[in-house]
Subunit: 333 residues, 2 copies
């Protein structure tokens, strides 16, 4: 691969002049710029971003940590972030932590060692500890989707309480009075808040909750399957359940099918986050859909704002969910 010196030699200028042409910094005459650009083309010169980053401390690279790449919510977040980053000439490392703090830490280290200029993190846990290395390295970061107590950072959130309330109210409006909740990990802000919204709605309607109807686990299909079974371990059964995310709902559906229970005939089901392809195939699940693409795009914008003004106070952007009513929670018989 050609270097900036070879380009300079061929164009008959100094390396720094080539640098100026590439970066559009400083002055260059029309004349020399033409010559340099031609030399670049002829040699198929590709600037070495490593060397550039080493000297200038600007790598034009961001990192994005999501907790599940196979979840359409997160891939859509990634698209939003990627588009926004690319628009600004930044590349984006997309990393999948799988809700696993150890994996998250390995990626954080990998990204810091690659000197990314900023990080967008969907935290795998609500502990502040794992984020400390990022803060101490002085690398700006934005949290998406989940809060972390005692961490001062920009934040892009959905409204979990309101969304869960919407879903629960929908079930109530369909006549359900025995409503269960399949929740996410205890301590994770979205999971805690979704349970809270669910409880608020039911309590406002004067509806009782059996303890076994409320289950918590990971945001994964297997957990949905398991929690649904636990929920139905013994009577009385709920007539409907609210799953705290789409993966939980998909797992719950498998458990219900296995027991020969039909949705919505035998059991109503609603959840947070859409499953777009599935909904195209069959508009079935009633969901509180979040503007995932915006999550990513807004997070990158916040990050850029912070990069250009490091002292600006942390901002929080809340993007409300939208209730999409489909067939999975029809009127209670």
């Amino acid at each position: 691969m050609a270097t900036i010196r070879e380009v300079a030699a061929r164009a008959g200028v100094a390396p720094i002049t080539v640098s100026r042409v590439i970066n559009g910094s400083g002055y260059t005459s029309e004349e020399t710029r033409k010559r340099v650009e031609e030399a670049i083309r002829e040699l198929e010169y590709v600037p070495n971003v490593l060397a550039r980053g080493l000297r200038s401390r600007r790598t034009h690279t961001l990192g994005l940590l999501v907790t599940d790449v196979t979840n359409p919510f997160w891939t859509t977040v990634a698209r939003g972030a990627e588009d926004e980053a690319m628009r600004a000439g930044y590349a984006l490392f997309l990393c999948n932590t799988d809700e696993d703090v150890a994996k998250q830490q390995r990626y954080i280290h990998a990204l810091l060692s690659r000197r990314v200029e900023g990080l967008i993190i969907a935290p795998a846990s609500s502990e502040a500890g794992p984020l400390r290395p990022v803060a101490r390295a002085g690398v700006p970061f934005v949290l998406v989707d989940r809060r972390v107590p005692d961490v001062a950072a920009d934040l892009v959130l959905g409204d979990s309480v309101a969304g869960a309330r919407l879903l629960a109210e929908h079930l109530l409006s369909q006549g359900h009075r025995r409503i269960g909740h399949l929740g996410g990990p205890v301590g994770l802000s979205t999971a805690d808040e979704r349970e809270q919204g669910y409880r608020q709605a039911l309590s406002a309607a004067g509806v009782e909750i059996e303890p076994q109807w409320v289950q918590r686990g990971e945001y994964k299909q297997e957990a949905g399957y398991r929690l649904m079974q636990a929920c139905l371990a013994q009577p009385p059964w709920p007539t409907a359940v609210l799953a705290a995310n789409n993966a939980l709902a998909v797992g719950a559906l498998a458990a219900l099918r296995e027991r020969g229970l039909n949705v919505p005939r035998d059991m109503g089901l609603v959840c947070f986050d859409d499953v777009p392809q599935a909904s195209q195939i069959d508009p079935f699940l009633t969901v509180a859909a979040q503007p995932a693409y915006e999550f990513g795009a807004v997070a990158v914008r916040l990050l850029f704002e912070r990069l250009s003004d490091p002292k600006r106070p942390p901002q929080t952007v809340v993007l409300p969910p939208e209730l999409i009513v489909r067939r999975s929670a029809g009127p209670l018989n």
Copy 2:
């Protein structure tokens, strides 16, 4: 952020000794290693991979270009690649080209300029031209899912001809004799081969094909919607269609629903590639599923083999699809 010199100073050794401890290269006494490791911990030292790569020409970074991050097939490929790369201590840039050659070229440039050691590419077009910069930069690459004529590179493929034949034969076995095909872009190997497999199966069964039943377009939902409409523009209609990928099938389903046609009652539908979440929610689509995770993992393995032996002749690995029969193509009435 601390540098290797600060670590060395604190440990009372030379920088090169720290380097040796970090990389496990050369000899270091137990004693000094302990001291160095402690200094690293105390200073929260994070090695600068840019500097390391500049000097050693090893960045421990790969690039993966997929054509659609929101398609579960590609996210699963990405997971396979990522897991395999991480196991070897490599990070992976995951980039989404959106089936757009211009976008693909921008990412290729971004990745070359970051001096990735290798690339895994799902080519957005079957032209060799766009891949030339990679070859000329001397960066090894593996093609996944699609062939590119006149490019000597390692290759991970599904068996498109066989898969399409399986799907078509399934439709024939259900009694269908008027079978359409919604195909991918003309010239793209998977798209061409899937049409070929479809034609082989029908011709072997002595079944005729109306020209309007065979449509080709992008591997995207909108195309599926449009092609399905074109397919039904005028009688005679097919009684079933074979979509060349999952996105096309999802779009086709929307078009059918819009016309009030029920699948499988009024129209059979099968496609290449699964839609895992949707199939969990409702085991509906009959598909030729490909081992997507293996695509990614095998591609990374091939890349590593080539990195360690650049002169080895290009390999091609073919991973066969599996027919999963569900309800979307029941017996013809």
